[in-house]
Point group: C2
Chain length 229, copies 2
DNA sequence: TGTACATCAGTGAACGCGCGTTCACTGATGTAC
DNA sequence: TGTACATCAGTGAACGCGCGTTCACTGATGTAC
Protein backbone atom coordinates (compact mmCIF):
# COMPACT_ATOMS: atom_id res chain seq x y z
CA UNK A 1 0.00 0.00 0.00
CA UNK A 2 1.43 3.50 0.00
CA UNK A 3 4.29 2.95 -2.44
CA UNK A 4 2.22 1.75 -5.40
CA UNK A 5 -0.25 3.70 -7.43
CA UNK A 6 -3.90 2.85 -7.45
CA UNK A 7 -3.68 1.38 -10.95
CA UNK A 8 -0.71 -0.79 -10.05
CA UNK A 9 -2.37 -1.90 -6.87
CA UNK A 10 -5.54 -2.81 -8.71
CA UNK A 11 -3.62 -4.85 -11.23
CA UNK A 12 -1.75 -6.71 -8.52
CA UNK A 13 -4.90 -7.48 -6.59
CA UNK A 14 -6.62 -8.69 -9.73
CA UNK A 15 -3.73 -11.04 -10.40
CA UNK A 16 -3.83 -12.23 -6.78
CA UNK A 17 -7.53 -12.98 -7.15
CA UNK A 18 -6.99 -14.98 -10.32
CA UNK A 19 -4.13 -16.81 -8.66
CA UNK A 20 -6.33 -17.69 -5.69
CA UNK A 21 -9.02 -18.78 -8.13
CA UNK A 22 -6.58 -21.13 -9.85
CA UNK A 23 -5.56 -22.56 -6.48
CA UNK A 24 -9.18 -23.30 -5.79
CA UNK A 25 -9.75 -25.02 -9.10
CA UNK A 26 -7.18 -27.48 -7.84
CA UNK A 27 -8.58 -27.89 -4.36
CA UNK A 28 -12.33 -27.76 -4.87
CA UNK A 29 -12.92 -27.76 -8.59
CA UNK A 30 -14.67 -25.24 -10.78
CA UNK A 31 -18.16 -26.16 -9.65
CA UNK A 32 -17.32 -25.36 -6.03
CA UNK A 33 -15.26 -22.23 -6.72
CA UNK A 34 -15.96 -19.92 -3.79
CA UNK A 35 -15.62 -16.15 -3.75
CA UNK A 36 -15.43 -16.16 0.03
CA UNK A 37 -12.50 -18.55 -0.01
CA UNK A 38 -10.83 -16.45 -2.71
CA UNK A 39 -11.24 -13.40 -0.50
CA UNK A 40 -9.69 -15.21 2.45
CA UNK A 41 -6.76 -16.36 0.29
CA UNK A 42 -6.06 -12.86 -0.92
CA UNK A 43 -6.43 -11.43 2.57
CA UNK A 44 -9.61 -9.50 1.99
CA UNK A 45 -13.02 -9.48 3.56
CA UNK A 46 -15.53 -11.37 1.43
CA UNK A 47 -17.39 -8.33 0.16
CA UNK A 48 -14.20 -6.66 -1.06
CA UNK A 49 -13.80 -9.08 -3.96
CA UNK A 50 -16.82 -7.44 -5.52
CA UNK A 51 -14.65 -4.38 -6.15
CA UNK A 52 -12.77 -6.51 -8.68
CA UNK A 53 -15.23 -9.01 -10.02
CA UNK A 54 -18.97 -8.68 -10.56
CA UNK A 55 -19.82 -12.15 -9.32
CA UNK A 56 -18.77 -15.78 -9.23
CA UNK A 57 -19.53 -16.41 -12.88
CA UNK A 58 -17.38 -13.53 -14.02
CA UNK A 59 -14.43 -14.92 -12.08
CA UNK A 60 -14.98 -18.26 -13.81
CA UNK A 61 -15.02 -16.54 -17.18
CA UNK A 62 -11.76 -14.74 -16.42
CA UNK A 63 -10.14 -18.00 -15.37
CA UNK A 64 -11.31 -19.72 -18.54
CA UNK A 65 -10.11 -17.04 -20.95
CA UNK A 66 -6.80 -16.80 -19.08
CA UNK A 67 -6.32 -20.55 -19.36
CA UNK A 68 -7.11 -20.63 -23.07
CA UNK A 69 -4.81 -17.68 -23.67
CA UNK A 70 -1.98 -19.22 -21.70
CA UNK A 71 -2.30 -22.54 -23.50
CA UNK A 72 -2.65 -20.83 -26.86
CA UNK A 73 0.36 -18.62 -26.30
CA UNK A 74 2.53 -21.55 -25.20
CA UNK A 75 1.67 -23.53 -28.29
CA UNK A 76 2.06 -20.56 -30.63
CA UNK A 77 5.49 -19.74 -29.27
CA UNK A 78 6.75 -23.31 -29.25
CA UNK A 79 5.55 -23.98 -32.77
CA UNK A 80 7.04 -20.74 -34.05
CA UNK A 81 10.56 -21.93 -33.20
CA UNK A 82 10.35 -24.57 -35.95
CA UNK A 83 11.17 -24.01 -39.60
CA UNK A 84 7.91 -23.39 -41.47
CA UNK A 85 8.75 -26.18 -43.89
CA UNK A 86 9.29 -28.73 -41.12
CA UNK A 87 5.65 -29.78 -41.04
CA UNK A 88 6.05 -32.91 -38.99
CA UNK A 89 8.26 -31.07 -36.54
CA UNK A 90 5.69 -28.32 -36.12
CA UNK A 91 2.98 -30.92 -35.48
CA UNK A 92 5.11 -32.75 -32.93
CA UNK A 93 6.08 -29.55 -31.14
CA UNK A 94 2.53 -28.28 -31.02
CA UNK A 95 1.18 -31.59 -29.74
CA UNK A 96 3.92 -32.03 -27.18
CA UNK A 97 3.39 -28.50 -25.91
CA UNK A 98 -0.33 -29.06 -25.51
CA UNK A 99 0.36 -32.13 -23.41
CA UNK A 100 3.10 -30.44 -21.38
CA UNK A 101 0.83 -27.50 -20.63
CA UNK A 102 -1.92 -29.87 -19.50
CA UNK A 103 0.47 -31.63 -17.14
CA UNK A 104 1.62 -28.32 -15.72
CA UNK A 105 -1.93 -27.00 -15.35
CA UNK A 106 -4.13 -30.06 -14.88
CA UNK A 107 -6.98 -28.18 -13.21
CA UNK A 108 -7.08 -25.48 -15.81
CA UNK A 109 -7.11 -28.18 -18.47
CA UNK A 110 -10.06 -29.75 -16.66
CA UNK A 111 -11.71 -26.35 -16.56
CA UNK A 112 -11.55 -25.80 -20.28
CA UNK A 113 -11.69 -29.30 -21.76
CA UNK A 114 -13.31 -31.26 -18.93
CA UNK A 115 -16.95 -31.38 -17.94
CA UNK A 116 -18.81 -28.09 -18.23
CA UNK A 117 -19.63 -26.31 -14.99
CA UNK A 118 -23.34 -26.86 -14.32
CA UNK A 119 -25.34 -23.68 -14.42
CA UNK A 120 -22.52 -21.73 -16.05
CA UNK A 121 -22.66 -20.67 -19.68
CA UNK A 122 -19.43 -19.47 -21.21
CA UNK A 123 -19.89 -16.04 -22.82
CA UNK A 124 -18.70 -15.03 -26.29
CA UNK A 125 -15.51 -13.57 -24.83
CA UNK A 126 -14.11 -17.07 -24.35
CA UNK A 127 -14.36 -18.24 -27.94
CA UNK A 128 -11.52 -16.14 -29.32
CA UNK A 129 -8.93 -17.44 -26.86
CA UNK A 130 -10.31 -20.97 -27.26
CA UNK A 131 -9.50 -20.87 -30.94
CA UNK A 132 -5.78 -20.17 -30.62
CA UNK A 133 -4.55 -23.74 -30.22
CA UNK A 134 -6.64 -25.17 -33.00
CA UNK A 135 -5.59 -22.27 -35.22
CA UNK A 136 -1.98 -23.38 -34.86
CA UNK A 137 -2.82 -26.94 -35.87
CA UNK A 138 -5.04 -25.73 -38.69
CA UNK A 139 -2.16 -23.58 -39.92
CA UNK A 140 0.13 -26.59 -40.17
CA UNK A 141 -2.36 -28.52 -42.27
CA UNK A 142 -3.08 -25.49 -44.44
CA UNK A 143 0.65 -25.00 -45.02
CA UNK A 144 0.99 -28.66 -45.92
CA UNK A 145 -1.78 -28.40 -48.51
CA UNK A 146 -0.49 -25.13 -49.92
CA UNK A 147 3.01 -26.52 -50.46
CA UNK A 148 1.62 -29.74 -51.90
CA UNK A 149 3.02 -31.84 -49.11
CA UNK A 150 -0.13 -33.35 -47.62
CA UNK A 151 -0.79 -36.98 -48.51
CA UNK A 152 -4.05 -37.80 -50.31
CA UNK A 153 -5.56 -34.37 -49.47
CA UNK A 154 -8.89 -34.80 -51.20
CA UNK A 155 -9.25 -38.54 -51.23
CA UNK A 156 -10.37 -41.28 -48.90
CA UNK A 157 -13.35 -39.59 -47.37
CA UNK A 158 -15.75 -42.41 -46.69
CA UNK A 159 -19.42 -41.74 -46.10
CA UNK A 160 -19.32 -38.23 -47.57
CA UNK A 161 -17.08 -36.26 -45.26
CA UNK A 162 -17.37 -33.40 -47.71
CA UNK A 163 -20.88 -32.55 -46.72
CA UNK A 164 -20.16 -33.09 -43.02
CA UNK A 165 -18.28 -29.83 -42.50
CA UNK A 166 -19.39 -26.24 -42.81
CA UNK A 167 -17.52 -24.79 -45.77
CA UNK A 168 -17.61 -21.21 -44.50
CA UNK A 169 -15.96 -21.97 -41.17
CA UNK A 170 -13.62 -24.39 -42.89
CA UNK A 171 -12.39 -21.51 -45.02
CA UNK A 172 -11.59 -19.54 -41.88
CA UNK A 173 -10.04 -22.35 -39.86
CA UNK A 174 -8.05 -24.08 -42.58
CA UNK A 175 -8.12 -22.04 -45.77
CA UNK A 176 -7.55 -24.10 -48.88
CA UNK A 177 -7.81 -27.45 -47.14
CA UNK A 178 -10.21 -29.91 -48.81
CA UNK A 179 -13.00 -31.20 -46.53
CA UNK A 180 -11.66 -34.75 -46.42
CA UNK A 181 -8.29 -33.57 -45.13
CA UNK A 182 -9.91 -31.11 -42.73
CA UNK A 183 -11.99 -33.88 -41.28
CA UNK A 184 -8.86 -35.94 -40.71
CA UNK A 185 -7.20 -32.95 -39.05
CA UNK A 186 -10.18 -32.50 -36.81
CA UNK A 187 -10.07 -36.17 -35.91
CA UNK A 188 -6.38 -35.89 -35.07
CA UNK A 189 -7.23 -33.00 -32.75
CA UNK A 190 -9.82 -35.15 -31.01
CA UNK A 191 -7.16 -37.83 -30.63
CA UNK A 192 -4.79 -35.36 -29.07
CA UNK A 193 -7.36 -33.93 -26.65
CA UNK A 194 -8.66 -37.40 -25.85
CA UNK A 195 -5.18 -38.73 -25.18
CA UNK A 196 -4.25 -35.91 -22.86
CA UNK A 197 -7.57 -36.09 -21.03
CA UNK A 198 -7.55 -39.85 -20.55
CA UNK A 199 -3.95 -39.74 -19.39
CA UNK A 200 -4.45 -36.82 -17.05
CA UNK A 201 -7.61 -38.17 -15.50
CA UNK A 202 -6.06 -41.59 -14.97
CA UNK A 203 -8.03 -43.68 -17.44
CA UNK A 204 -5.20 -45.55 -19.09
CA UNK A 205 -4.66 -47.95 -16.25
CA UNK A 206 -1.48 -49.98 -16.31
CA UNK A 207 -1.30 -50.37 -20.11
CA UNK A 208 0.99 -47.42 -20.69
CA UNK A 209 4.44 -48.13 -19.32
CA UNK A 210 6.34 -45.16 -20.71
CA UNK A 211 3.95 -42.20 -21.03
CA UNK A 212 6.30 -39.89 -22.92
CA UNK A 213 7.19 -42.52 -25.47
CA UNK A 214 3.62 -43.68 -25.89
CA UNK A 215 2.46 -40.12 -26.45
CA UNK A 216 5.19 -39.42 -28.99
CA UNK A 217 4.20 -42.54 -30.89
CA UNK A 218 0.50 -41.69 -30.74
CA UNK A 219 1.23 -38.18 -31.96
CA UNK A 220 3.10 -39.54 -34.95
CA UNK A 221 0.31 -41.96 -35.75
CA UNK A 222 -2.12 -39.07 -35.76
CA UNK A 223 0.21 -37.10 -38.06
CA UNK A 224 0.28 -40.10 -40.40
CA UNK A 225 -3.49 -40.24 -40.37
CA UNK A 226 -3.72 -36.60 -41.36
CA UNK A 227 -1.01 -37.12 -43.95
CA UNK A 228 1.50 -34.60 -42.62
CA UNK A 229 4.84 -35.27 -44.27
CA UNK B 1 -45.57 -49.86 1.83
CA UNK B 2 -47.86 -52.73 2.79
CA UNK B 3 -47.95 -54.73 -0.43
CA UNK B 4 -44.24 -55.17 -1.08
CA UNK B 5 -41.75 -57.17 0.92
CA UNK B 6 -38.89 -55.49 2.73
CA UNK B 7 -36.38 -56.73 0.17
CA UNK B 8 -38.43 -55.48 -2.76
CA UNK B 9 -39.00 -52.17 -1.07
CA UNK B 10 -35.32 -51.76 -0.36
CA UNK B 11 -34.44 -52.47 -3.96
CA UNK B 12 -36.98 -49.96 -5.24
CA UNK B 13 -35.79 -47.26 -2.86
CA UNK B 14 -32.19 -47.89 -3.83
CA UNK B 15 -33.12 -47.49 -7.48
CA UNK B 16 -35.05 -44.31 -6.68
CA UNK B 17 -31.99 -42.94 -4.90
CA UNK B 18 -29.72 -43.68 -7.86
CA UNK B 19 -32.28 -42.16 -10.18
CA UNK B 20 -32.41 -38.99 -8.07
CA UNK B 21 -28.61 -38.97 -8.04
CA UNK B 22 -28.55 -39.10 -11.83
CA UNK B 23 -31.03 -36.25 -12.01
CA UNK B 24 -28.71 -34.22 -9.84
CA UNK B 25 -25.67 -34.93 -11.96
CA UNK B 26 -27.59 -33.11 -14.66
CA UNK B 27 -28.74 -30.21 -12.55
CA UNK B 28 -25.79 -29.54 -10.25
CA UNK B 29 -22.97 -31.72 -11.44
CA UNK B 30 -21.05 -34.41 -9.60
CA UNK B 31 -19.06 -32.00 -7.47
CA UNK B 32 -22.22 -30.53 -5.98
CA UNK B 33 -24.14 -33.80 -5.61
CA UNK B 34 -26.22 -33.38 -2.46
CA UNK B 35 -27.59 -36.14 -0.27
CA UNK B 36 -30.16 -33.78 1.18
CA UNK B 37 -31.51 -32.97 -2.26
CA UNK B 38 -31.54 -36.65 -3.14
CA UNK B 39 -33.56 -37.32 -0.01
CA UNK B 40 -36.04 -34.60 -0.92
CA UNK B 41 -36.37 -36.00 -4.45
CA UNK B 42 -37.09 -39.47 -3.18
CA UNK B 43 -39.51 -38.16 -0.57
CA UNK B 44 -37.44 -39.00 2.47
CA UNK B 45 -36.10 -37.02 5.36
CA UNK B 46 -32.39 -36.31 4.87
CA UNK B 47 -31.14 -38.72 7.50
CA UNK B 48 -33.08 -41.62 5.98
CA UNK B 49 -30.78 -41.85 2.96
CA UNK B 50 -28.11 -43.14 5.33
CA UNK B 51 -30.12 -46.37 5.62
CA UNK B 52 -29.18 -47.00 1.98
CA UNK B 53 -25.85 -45.35 1.41
CA UNK B 54 -22.96 -44.84 3.82
CA UNK B 55 -22.18 -41.31 2.67
CA UNK B 56 -21.93 -38.97 -0.28
CA UNK B 57 -18.84 -40.63 -1.72
CA UNK B 58 -20.45 -44.04 -1.74
CA UNK B 59 -23.38 -42.67 -3.74
CA UNK B 60 -20.91 -41.23 -6.23
CA UNK B 61 -19.19 -44.58 -6.52
CA UNK B 62 -22.49 -46.34 -7.16
CA UNK B 63 -23.38 -43.81 -9.86
CA UNK B 64 -19.99 -44.27 -11.51
CA UNK B 65 -20.06 -48.04 -11.60
CA UNK B 66 -23.67 -48.01 -12.79
CA UNK B 67 -22.74 -45.63 -15.61
CA UNK B 68 -19.75 -47.70 -16.72
CA UNK B 69 -21.83 -50.86 -16.57
CA UNK B 70 -24.64 -49.34 -18.56
CA UNK B 71 -22.30 -48.01 -21.22
CA UNK B 72 -20.37 -51.27 -21.31
CA UNK B 73 -23.48 -53.37 -21.63
CA UNK B 74 -24.88 -51.19 -24.42
CA UNK B 75 -21.71 -51.50 -26.43
CA UNK B 76 -21.33 -55.22 -25.77
CA UNK B 77 -24.86 -55.94 -26.91
CA UNK B 78 -24.73 -53.75 -29.99
CA UNK B 79 -21.41 -55.16 -31.11
CA UNK B 80 -22.56 -58.72 -30.55
CA UNK B 81 -25.24 -58.35 -33.23
CA UNK B 82 -22.55 -58.14 -35.92
CA UNK B 83 -20.92 -61.10 -37.64
CA UNK B 84 -17.58 -61.80 -35.91
CA UNK B 85 -15.81 -61.59 -39.27
CA UNK B 86 -17.24 -58.16 -40.06
CA UNK B 87 -14.44 -56.30 -38.34
CA UNK B 88 -15.13 -52.86 -39.72
CA UNK B 89 -18.82 -53.26 -38.97
CA UNK B 90 -18.07 -54.23 -35.39
CA UNK B 91 -15.84 -51.18 -34.99
CA UNK B 92 -18.45 -48.86 -36.47
CA UNK B 93 -21.21 -50.29 -34.33
CA UNK B 94 -19.16 -50.08 -31.15
CA UNK B 95 -18.07 -46.51 -31.84
CA UNK B 96 -21.53 -45.38 -32.83
CA UNK B 97 -23.01 -46.93 -29.72
CA UNK B 98 -20.48 -45.19 -27.49
CA UNK B 99 -21.45 -41.87 -29.00
CA UNK B 100 -25.17 -42.59 -28.86
CA UNK B 101 -24.92 -43.55 -25.20
CA UNK B 102 -23.03 -40.35 -24.46
CA UNK B 103 -25.72 -38.28 -26.14
CA UNK B 104 -28.43 -40.09 -24.19
CA UNK B 105 -26.55 -39.76 -20.89
CA UNK B 106 -24.42 -36.63 -21.20
CA UNK B 107 -24.04 -36.10 -17.47
CA UNK B 108 -23.05 -39.64 -16.78
CA UNK B 109 -20.53 -39.38 -19.59
CA UNK B 110 -19.17 -36.26 -17.92
CA UNK B 111 -19.07 -38.14 -14.64
CA UNK B 112 -16.91 -40.95 -15.95
CA UNK B 113 -14.85 -39.34 -18.71
CA UNK B 114 -14.96 -35.69 -17.71
CA UNK B 115 -13.02 -33.90 -15.02
CA UNK B 116 -12.48 -35.90 -11.85
CA UNK B 117 -14.52 -34.88 -8.82
CA UNK B 118 -12.17 -32.97 -6.48
CA UNK B 119 -11.64 -34.74 -3.20
CA UNK B 120 -13.13 -37.98 -4.48
CA UNK B 121 -10.98 -41.01 -5.22
CA UNK B 122 -12.61 -43.78 -7.22
CA UNK B 123 -12.25 -47.11 -5.42
CA UNK B 124 -11.14 -50.38 -6.99
CA UNK B 125 -14.74 -51.43 -7.51
CA UNK B 126 -15.02 -49.03 -10.44
CA UNK B 127 -12.19 -50.41 -12.53
CA UNK B 128 -13.91 -53.62 -13.62
CA UNK B 129 -16.94 -51.86 -15.09
CA UNK B 130 -14.68 -49.17 -16.60
CA UNK B 131 -12.90 -51.84 -18.62
CA UNK B 132 -15.93 -53.22 -20.43
CA UNK B 133 -16.02 -50.76 -23.35
CA UNK B 134 -12.32 -50.92 -24.06
CA UNK B 135 -12.48 -54.70 -23.84
CA UNK B 136 -14.92 -54.74 -26.74
CA UNK B 137 -12.64 -52.58 -28.88
CA UNK B 138 -9.61 -54.60 -27.84
CA UNK B 139 -11.46 -57.75 -28.86
CA UNK B 140 -12.05 -56.41 -32.34
CA UNK B 141 -8.38 -55.64 -32.85
CA UNK B 142 -7.33 -58.97 -31.36
CA UNK B 143 -9.71 -60.79 -33.73
CA UNK B 144 -8.30 -58.84 -36.66
CA UNK B 145 -4.76 -59.85 -35.77
CA UNK B 146 -5.70 -63.47 -35.10
CA UNK B 147 -7.38 -63.84 -38.49
CA UNK B 148 -4.54 -62.04 -40.24
CA UNK B 149 -6.76 -59.17 -41.31
CA UNK B 150 -5.06 -56.24 -39.60
CA UNK B 151 -2.96 -54.00 -41.86
CA UNK B 152 0.76 -53.64 -41.04
CA UNK B 153 0.28 -55.11 -37.53
CA UNK B 154 3.86 -54.93 -36.34
CA UNK B 155 5.23 -52.22 -38.53
CA UNK B 156 5.29 -48.44 -38.58
CA UNK B 157 5.88 -47.79 -34.92
CA UNK B 158 7.95 -44.63 -34.86
CA UNK B 159 9.96 -43.68 -31.81
CA UNK B 160 9.86 -47.14 -30.25
CA UNK B 161 6.22 -47.74 -29.49
CA UNK B 162 7.16 -51.26 -28.50
CA UNK B 163 8.73 -50.23 -25.24
CA UNK B 164 5.99 -47.70 -24.52
CA UNK B 165 3.38 -50.25 -23.46
CA UNK B 166 3.32 -52.69 -20.58
CA UNK B 167 3.49 -56.16 -22.13
CA UNK B 168 1.70 -57.87 -19.25
CA UNK B 169 -1.40 -55.67 -19.41
CA UNK B 170 -1.25 -55.72 -23.19
CA UNK B 171 -1.56 -59.51 -23.03
CA UNK B 172 -4.71 -59.13 -20.98
CA UNK B 173 -6.28 -56.28 -22.93
CA UNK B 174 -5.43 -57.36 -26.47
CA UNK B 175 -3.92 -60.84 -26.46
CA UNK B 176 -1.70 -61.52 -29.44
CA UNK B 177 -1.68 -57.93 -30.68
CA UNK B 178 1.80 -56.53 -31.38
CA UNK B 179 2.66 -53.36 -29.45
CA UNK B 180 2.68 -51.14 -32.54
CA UNK B 181 -0.87 -52.14 -33.42
CA UNK B 182 -1.99 -51.91 -29.80
CA UNK B 183 -0.68 -48.38 -29.60
CA UNK B 184 -2.64 -47.48 -32.71
CA UNK B 185 -5.75 -49.04 -31.19
CA UNK B 186 -5.23 -47.05 -28.02
CA UNK B 187 -4.83 -43.88 -30.06
CA UNK B 188 -8.05 -44.63 -31.92
CA UNK B 189 -9.79 -44.99 -28.55
CA UNK B 190 -8.47 -41.57 -27.51
CA UNK B 191 -9.81 -40.20 -30.78
CA UNK B 192 -13.22 -41.67 -30.08
CA UNK B 193 -13.39 -40.41 -26.50
CA UNK B 194 -11.98 -37.04 -27.53
CA UNK B 195 -14.47 -36.67 -30.35
CA UNK B 196 -17.45 -37.49 -28.18
CA UNK B 197 -16.24 -35.22 -25.38
CA UNK B 198 -15.48 -32.24 -27.58
CA UNK B 199 -18.80 -32.63 -29.37
CA UNK B 200 -20.82 -33.09 -26.18
CA UNK B 201 -19.20 -30.19 -24.36
CA UNK B 202 -19.65 -27.89 -27.33
CA UNK B 203 -16.04 -27.40 -28.40
CA UNK B 204 -16.43 -27.93 -32.12
CA UNK B 205 -17.92 -24.55 -32.81
CA UNK B 206 -19.55 -24.07 -36.17
CA UNK B 207 -17.12 -26.26 -38.14
CA UNK B 208 -19.21 -29.39 -37.98
CA UNK B 209 -22.34 -29.00 -40.07
CA UNK B 210 -23.62 -32.57 -40.02
CA UNK B 211 -22.61 -34.19 -36.73
CA UNK B 212 -23.70 -37.73 -37.57
CA UNK B 213 -21.93 -37.74 -40.90
CA UNK B 214 -18.78 -36.15 -39.48
CA UNK B 215 -18.64 -38.70 -36.72
CA UNK B 216 -19.11 -41.62 -39.10
CA UNK B 217 -16.28 -40.31 -41.25
CA UNK B 218 -14.01 -39.75 -38.24
CA UNK B 219 -14.76 -43.23 -36.99
CA UNK B 220 -13.75 -44.69 -40.32
CA UNK B 221 -10.55 -42.66 -40.40
CA UNK B 222 -9.68 -44.04 -36.98
CA UNK B 223 -10.39 -47.58 -38.20
CA UNK B 224 -8.06 -46.95 -41.14
CA UNK B 225 -5.39 -45.74 -38.76
CA UNK B 226 -5.65 -48.91 -36.72
CA UNK B 227 -5.73 -50.97 -39.89
CA UNK B 228 -9.08 -52.65 -39.36
CA UNK B 229 -10.17 -54.19 -42.65
C1' DT C 1 -52.03 -70.35 14.34
C1' DG C 2 -50.42 -67.28 17.89
C1' DT C 3 -47.18 -64.96 20.63
C1' DA C 4 -42.52 -62.71 21.87
C1' DC C 5 -38.79 -60.72 20.13
C1' DA C 6 -35.52 -58.85 16.64
C1' DT C 7 -34.81 -56.24 12.71
C1' DC C 8 -34.90 -52.20 10.23
C1' DA C 9 -37.06 -48.01 7.43
C1' DG C 10 -38.08 -43.69 8.44
C1' DT C 11 -38.52 -39.39 11.74
C1' DG C 12 -37.25 -34.93 13.55
C1' DA C 13 -34.16 -32.20 15.99
C1' DA C 14 -29.69 -30.79 16.36
C1' DC C 15 -24.38 -30.02 15.54
C1' DG C 16 -21.29 -26.75 13.13
C1' DC C 17 -20.30 -25.27 8.92
C1' DG C 18 -19.93 -22.52 4.39
C1' DC C 19 -22.00 -20.00 0.69
C1' DG C 20 -23.25 -15.44 -2.58
C1' DT C 21 -24.55 -11.01 -2.32
C1' DT C 22 -26.06 -6.27 -0.45
C1' DC C 23 -25.37 -2.15 2.07
C1' DA C 24 -24.00 1.87 4.69
C1' DC C 25 -19.60 3.15 6.29
C1' DT C 26 -14.47 4.86 6.72
C1' DG C 27 -10.30 6.54 5.22
C1' DA C 28 -6.71 6.84 1.96
C1' DT C 29 -5.41 8.09 -2.88
C1' DG C 30 -5.95 11.03 -6.80
C1' DT C 31 -7.52 15.40 -9.35
C1' DA C 32 -8.87 20.17 -10.49
C1' DC C 33 -8.14 24.67 -9.59
C1' DT D 1 2.39 24.53 -3.60
C1' DG D 2 -1.98 24.17 -1.20
C1' DT D 3 -6.71 23.32 -0.65
C1' DA D 4 -11.51 21.21 -1.70
C1' DC D 5 -13.67 17.62 -3.59
C1' DA D 6 -14.28 13.11 -5.97
C1' DT D 7 -13.00 8.54 -6.40
C1' DC D 8 -12.54 4.12 -4.84
C1' DA D 9 -10.43 -0.04 -1.94
C1' DG D 10 -11.65 -2.20 1.88
C1' DT D 11 -14.73 -3.03 6.28
C1' DG D 12 -18.14 -5.42 9.04
C1' DA D 13 -22.70 -6.69 9.78
C1' DA D 14 -26.50 -8.77 7.93
C1' DC D 15 -29.93 -11.41 4.64
C1' DG D 16 -31.46 -16.18 3.73
C1' DC D 17 -29.87 -20.19 2.27
C1' DG D 18 -27.98 -25.14 1.87
C1' DC D 19 -24.85 -28.69 3.28
C1' DG D 20 -23.19 -33.66 5.64
C1' DT D 21 -23.73 -36.28 9.39
C1' DT D 22 -25.26 -38.02 14.17
C1' DC D 23 -28.59 -39.58 17.41
C1' DA D 24 -32.41 -41.17 20.17
C1' DC D 25 -36.91 -42.38 18.83
C1' DT D 26 -41.28 -44.84 16.77
C1' DG D 27 -43.70 -48.21 14.52
C1' DA D 28 -44.20 -51.55 11.03
C1' DT D 29 -42.33 -55.95 9.02
C1' DG D 30 -40.23 -60.33 9.61
C1' DT D 31 -38.75 -64.61 12.32
C1' DA D 32 -38.42 -68.36 15.80
C1' DC D 33 -40.79 -71.24 18.62
Amino acid sequence: MGAVSRAEHREQQMEAILEAGRRQLAERGAAALSLREVARDVGLVSSAVYRYVANRDELLTLLITAAFDDLGESVEMAEATRRRSDLRGRWRTAGTTVRAWAHEHPHEWALVYGSPVPGYVAPQSTVGPATRVTAVLGGIVADAVRTGRLDRPGEGAPRGAGRALDTASLDVAMPGVPPAAALRAMTAWTGLVGYVGLELFGHFGPLVADPDRAFAAALDELAEMVGIA
